[in-house]
């Protein structure tokens, strides 16, 4: 029982990080109907931003940790908006495939630039937040970093739902997602909305990157590739374009993966994650919470 609960905690904390990355995929898809493959590398840049900012502020300090988190989110938001402006906007009215291939190009650019500027070696990550282990009577351990993952993930999720459902810009985002020609007819500046969506998604990726790094304590420029793929699976699992779906998909994937990892079949973890994606697409093409939309021809 102890082992089961411990694995559940491990799985949920991993899943919460997948969820944060998946949200970025889902939001961009919701508004622009394309997969931003560079998202997983913004996750990496976020982690490195935290790493370098961490050198200027005292470690293991809650206030400074949050400041670094906010700083990295800001840097990545700007990076995401720049990428959108330079790489995706010129292709907005071209076929979706062009943008998709450009996204893969941007992803490769970020990965290789990362290896060039940051170096290809794994780096030890500083402890940004105070570290404390909470141990229960049965020997279940919950580290303060895992707790931070839950809290930050929940806060950001709630904040995101609030922005999307309760604010003017959120209403505009939903309008662009619904019909971008009609939205520009009623006076919404599509460019601003899309730019904002990229900024928001990239900020979440940065938060995911930092939380991932404080938990696993080693970073390298290719660290985003696998979590990015998994988060993409999570987004599709929950129903791409659907915000609660991305969160649910992330948590589910994290928990499943952890339980497989702790069993005799740990070699098959990734195989199981991707088999799950294929299965879901077979039986529920729109994902767990997604609604199937009829394409007008």
């Amino acid at each position: 029982m102890t082992e089961f609960l411990q694995q559940l905690i491990n799985g949920l904390s991993l899943g919460a990080i997948y969820a944060l990355i998946a949200l970025g995929y889902t939001m961009v898809y919701g508004v622009l109907r394309f997969i931003n493959f560079a998202h997983s590398d913004i996750f990496m840049v976020g982690a490195f931003a935290g790493y370098y900012l961490g050198h200027y502020l005292p470690a293991e300090n809650l206030g400074c940790g949050l400041l670094i988190l906010a700083g990295a989110m800001l840097i990545c938001a700007l990076l995401g908006m720049t990428i959108e402006r330079l790489a995706y906007r010129p292709l907005r009215n071209r076929s979706k495939l062009n943008v998709l291939i450009t996204a893969i190009g941007v992803s490769l650019l970020l990965e290789n630039a990362g290896q060039f500027f940051f170096g290809a070696k794994s780096k030890a990550y500083p402890s940004l937040f105070p570290v404390h282990n909470f141990t229960s009577a049965g020997g279940i351990v919950l580290s303060s970093n895992q707790l931070a993952v839950f809290i930050v993930a929940i806060l950001l999720l709630v904040g995101l739902q609030f922005i999307v459902l309760r604010t003017r810009i959120g209403t505009a985002m939903r309008a662009v997602s619904f019909n971008h020609i009609a939205s520009s007819l009623v006076g919404i500046n599509n460019d601003v909305v899309i730019s904002f969506t990229f900024g928001l998604g990239s900020a979440l990726a940065a938060a995911g990157g930092i939380l991932y790094s404080v938990n696993y304590q080693a970073i390298d420029p290719l660290m985003g590739v696998l979590p990015g793929l998994k988060a993409f699976v999570a987004a599709v699992l929950g129903g791409i374009g659907n915000i609660p779906g991305a969160a649910l998909g992330g948590l589910l994937l994290g928990v499943i993966e952890t339980f497989v990892n702790g069993s005799r079949y740990s070699t098959y973890t990734d195989a199981i994650a991707f088999a799950l994606l294929i299965l879901i697409l077979l039986f529920r093409p729109a994902g767990l919470l997604g609604k199937l939309q009829v394409e007008k021809v």
């Binding site: 102890t2 082992e3 694995q7 491990n10 070696k121 780096k123 696993y216 702790g262």
Partner: protein
């Protein structure tokens, strides 16, 4: 440096085209090319095992430099052509082909990781180019063919030694295994540990697996914790070993962790921090060894590389180049098959990592040392001879 290897022949060619009257010039360069012995090195200078690759490369570089200041062998100087495989298997194949067919090297030195040595070995064997691996310990590497050698001990020896160490020094009867299934080195060492350990009356309480590059080991460690072991054996490389130690301590696992020579890199302590205190690993040499050969080497290495202390990979990289030079000298030629025969006859060659004798299976038989981490530093524990 690397760029020059391409640029030099190119510019010579261009010169020949522009100034047809100066034809002798390119002939002279070709003669100059013949006056050196080209040795190829493929190494993981970047990527996951970069710490190993860099150390090994520095050791080799130092050895070649020294050989050249002593005048080289057969009246020729050595030229080391190093290529980076980025710790990737596919790159390794490309580079080995390039070094052999384009640069026409007489022998290949490499690599630290057994997985990548296994990629280059068949290529060398096919082309009859001798290859010396400085520190690949998986037995399969030299089984590829009679042109493949190594200057370090093998995993069956290391596994047996660690099994004895676990039993006698750690007093562990229940051991948990955490193996990297994506690394032949790790899978091999795990099985070579298991056999003698079980034969000595030990039990394996949990066997968990991961793949190189994983960051999250909490699931496996939680399962291991439930098995209640006396010690955890992690036959992997330093990045994962450091992360595993950290996550183990986070989960409240207090028993010692131990591993093989894949652990030795400064990154183990950098990434692992306090969590790697009191962990053990076996390796090829210790810089604390008081023998004059070792101390002389440490001094020269520090002088060349800004006070860095050479680790086992550096020492083996150094030895691999010296063993090759010695064989070329004895062979009296750089002809592949003759150098091979001379290498196979290597006996009691005194290097930094002890006396190297290459046996019929082209492996070196030599002793090992056990190291531990104390107060953020590598500490020598004991030497075990075969």
């Amino acid at each position: 440096m690397k760029k020059w290897c391409f640029l030099l022949p190119l510019s010579v060619l261009a010169l020949g085209l522009v100034l047809p009257g100066c034809g002798q010039k390119s002939a002279e360069t070709a003669a100059a090319d013949d006056a050196v012995i080209k040795v190829g090195e493929y190494a993981s200078l970047t990527g996951k095992e970069a710490a190993f690759g860099q150390s090994s490369h520095k050791g080799t570089e130092l050895a070649i430099e020294e050989l050249n200041t002593q005048g080289g062998v057969l009246g020729k100087k050595f030229k080391l052509i190093s290529e980076d495989n980025q710790s990737k298997s596919d790159e390794t194949a490309n580079i080995s082909h390039k070094l052999i067919s384009r640069d026409k090297v007489v022998a290949l030195l490499g690599e630290v990781a057994s997985g990548r040595s296994l990629i280059a070995a068949p290529i060398c064997q096919e082309n009859h180019i001798p290859m010396i691996s400085p520190s690949s310990t998986n037995p399969k590497v030299t089984e590829v063919g009679d042109y493949i050698f190594r200057v370090c001990f093998t995993d069956p020896f290391q596994g047996k030694l660690l099994a004895n160490f676990a039993k006698k020094s750690l007093k562990a009867t229940k051991v948990a295994l955490l193996t990297d299934v994506a690394a032949p080195y790790s899978v091999g060492l795990a099985s070579f540990f298991k056999e003698p350990f079980l034969a000595n009356g030990g039990t394996i309480v949990a066997e968990q697996k991961f793949s190189s590059g994983d960051k999250d080991f909490k699931a496996q460690l939680t399962a291991i914790k439930a098995g209640n072991p006396d010690a955890i054996f992690v036959p992997g490389y330093y990045t994962e070993a450091a992360l595993i130690s950290q996550q183990a301590r986070q989960l409240g696992i207090t028993v010692p962790l131990f591993g093989g020579d894949g652990w030795e890199a400064p990154e183990l302590i950098e990434i692992g921090g306090k969590a790697v205190e009191g962990t053990y690993y076996s390796t090829h040499y210790s810089a604390e060894d008081s023998s004059p050969v070792v101390q002389e080497f440490v001094k020269k290495y520090r002088a060349k590389f800004k006070g860095e202390t050479p680790d086992a990979m550096a020492a083996l990289g150094y030895d691999s180049a010296l063993v090759l030079a010695d064989a070329i000298k004895r062979a009296g030629t750089t002809d592949g098959p003759k150098v091979r025969d001379a290498l196979a006859a290597t006996k009691d060659f005194v290097g930094i990592t002890g006396k190297t004798t290459l046996d019929a299976a082209r492996n070196a038989t030599k002793g090992a040392v056990i190291m531990t981490i104390k107060d953020g530093k590598f500490k020598y524990v004991e030497t075990i001879n075969p």
